[in-house]
Symmetry: C2
């Protein structure tokens, strides 16, 4: 780990993992759950989704301390068929529960061709990319969705109706990494937080102020409402996410999802996993070859000048992953100190983390 | 049927159906296929999706005459499991094939909780809304996707990579009509054609000219490329549609989908149907009640002034449907004459249609 002259800490992957495991151990998270959650957070950091990466350690610490998240609570299957399962997450660790749901869906797809698992009381799962990658590497098409606190307005509306409700999917590709897409259907709160930190404005069209008027002021937006991506498209797909997560799970959806910031009560968000075995259709080998051609067609497209190149979904994340595996995960000194302060406020011993900082 | 002083023909539903059936009979389409296709076209017209409604009669006529569409060719199941099917459409009538695929998926969902059907060589299916409505009325969540000629650029790109690749979904709602969403992931060519007809411009950000530069000129856009809706979101979901349609079906996807305008060869587009039985998860009754609450939350949202009200997905279409069932389907005299001319050019007897026109 190194700090450059601009105050950027480069956190090596082993160090970041050790830090996560140390903090989770202090929080009495069982080893297996700690390992799974650390892997999901690290994967997000490696892919460049910093808002969903190791920065979430503080969020997990605060919510475990408050009783919103209960480490050690295993997923409980309420209803099961050859191709489906309805699972009670019992407010356990989100990443552990979501990995279990996706693994169960993949197991069912292996046997029947399709697997769908609906998980409720699943808690915060972080970035969805980490859940669809493994099934795609195993030759399946995987899809994941999660709902969240209703901060996104309906198209044309002025108050929150549903969460940023992300959708991720991945498919095997013969030329290497899976083709992997992961995006929110609502504009991300993280972008607003970043602008507030940087003292910059946010683009027009992504948020409203508390009175429901369009704004470019990140502080007004933070107290206001987010807008769906692409207007009616993000709206319609954001609602699909709510229907397939909270709706299918008989759990909260839309305005009924509790505020994630209410740490004294359960969160009540849901997760949906769908896995498809291409060998039950036109065949996995041909699909992987065709996906590789599709991706190469995207990369070699002519482009116009607002971007420097055309990328396929996931390309930037795979590039970032390779770079960060080699060079470490960058973090500003200010954010790093902010993370440590929140961990200390949870009564955690940060001597290991502080040692990382001192070594710079 | 009436024509008002602005030259708008109001075509009653029985008249429109009779016209469709008469034309299909002349084209030697078997009765059952004619009835199904007429129902799909009429449903699109009733919902206000005029570009995918009875105006398509001319498209069907031209493609049947050219041999691109083969009426009477039934779907052939190439591979089947308890929850999946891979179906060869044999270049038959698109709506008949897509209805068969969705019905098969629903049948599998009834038995196992999930059903997915992949259809290739399915031909043009029209608007997807007509396929997801019936499963939702029967208590299922249904999802439909279709790929098409690659006219939509990847995000940041300057040439077509995939089709406008629509996604439709519907879920049962306790308060009446299903919650139904149907939209393309790429900006629609129909909007450009409409602007060209009206002599107006198109909004910025929906299309590029043949040199890959942004344009608001509908004629330049018609020769150029469409853009994905919502940038990276429409791009990522447009590719998901290609992967689940052409990819899963071992059929053309991306740039490999033939131009739909090449009437002398097969089209080669694909269709994907997914049906989910909520009773295998948290339960259908609760879901329908929750969906009604979600929809009402959307409708009662505060709104800002660029729209006159907040609508739930499908609301405008259900309103239009009620109005058109009562008053007829409006069509400008010019478009009506254009449709008749194309039917005549296919060697069809339009005396029945001409009688409609004379009666105005």
């Amino acid at each position: 780990m190194t700090t450059d002259r601009d105050g950027i800490i480069q956190l090596s992957v082993p160090m970041a993992r050790t830090l996560c495991l140390d903090i989770f151990r202090q929080l009495a998270v069982p080893d297996c759950e700690a390992t799974q959650t650390a892997a999901i957070l690290l994967e997000a950091s490696l892919r460049g989704i910093d808002s969903h990466g190791i920065a979430l350690l503080a969020v997990f610490a605060e919510r475990i301390r408050s009783g919103q998240i209960h480490p050690g609570r295993a997923p409980f299957i309420r209803r099961e068929g050859p191709t489906t399962a309805w699972v009670d997450g019992q407010h356990g660790m989100g990443p552990t529960l979501a990995v279990a749901a996706m693994t169960l869906a993949m197991d069912k797809a292996r046997r029947t061709g399709l697997g769908a698992v609906s998980l409720y009381d699943g808690n915060y799962v972080g970035a969805l990319a980490g859940y669809v990658e493994d099934p795609a590497r195993a030759g399946y098409i995987a899809l994941a969705m999660a709902n969240a606190t209703p901060r996104v307005a309906p198209h044309g509306g002025g108050q929150g109706l549903h969460g940023t409700n992300p959708i991720a999917w991945a498919a095997p590709a013969a030329d290497g990494e899976p083709l992997l897409f992961d995006a929110a259907t609502g504009h991300a709160a993280a972008r607003i937080g970043q602008a507030a930190d940087d003292g910059s404005t946010i683009p027009a069209g992504i948020a409203l102020d508390p009175d429901g008027r369009p704004t470019t002021d990140p502080f007004a937006a933070a107290k206001g409402t987010l807008l769906p991506v692409g207007g009616a498209l993000g709206y319609g797909l954001g609602l699909l996410v709510d229907v397939l997560t909270g709706g299918l799970a008989a759990a909260p959806m839309g305005r009924c999802v509790p505020p994630v910031t209410a740490l004294d009560g359960p969160y009540g968000c849901s997760f949906f996993a769908l896995v498809i075995d291409p060998d039950r259709f036109g065949g996995a080998t041909g699909l992987a070859a065709d996906v590789a051609v599709l991706r190469e067609s995207a990369r070699t497209s002519t482009f116009f000048n607002f971007l420097d190149a055309v990328r396929a979904p996931g390309d930037r994340a795979w590039e970032t992953r390779r770079k960060r595996l080699a060079e470490g995960i960058p973090c500003t000194h200010r954010r790093w100190q902010g993370l440590l302060q929140r961990l200390v406020a949870c009564g955690l011993n940060i001597s290991r983390a502080a040692a990382i900082d001192r070594s710079t």
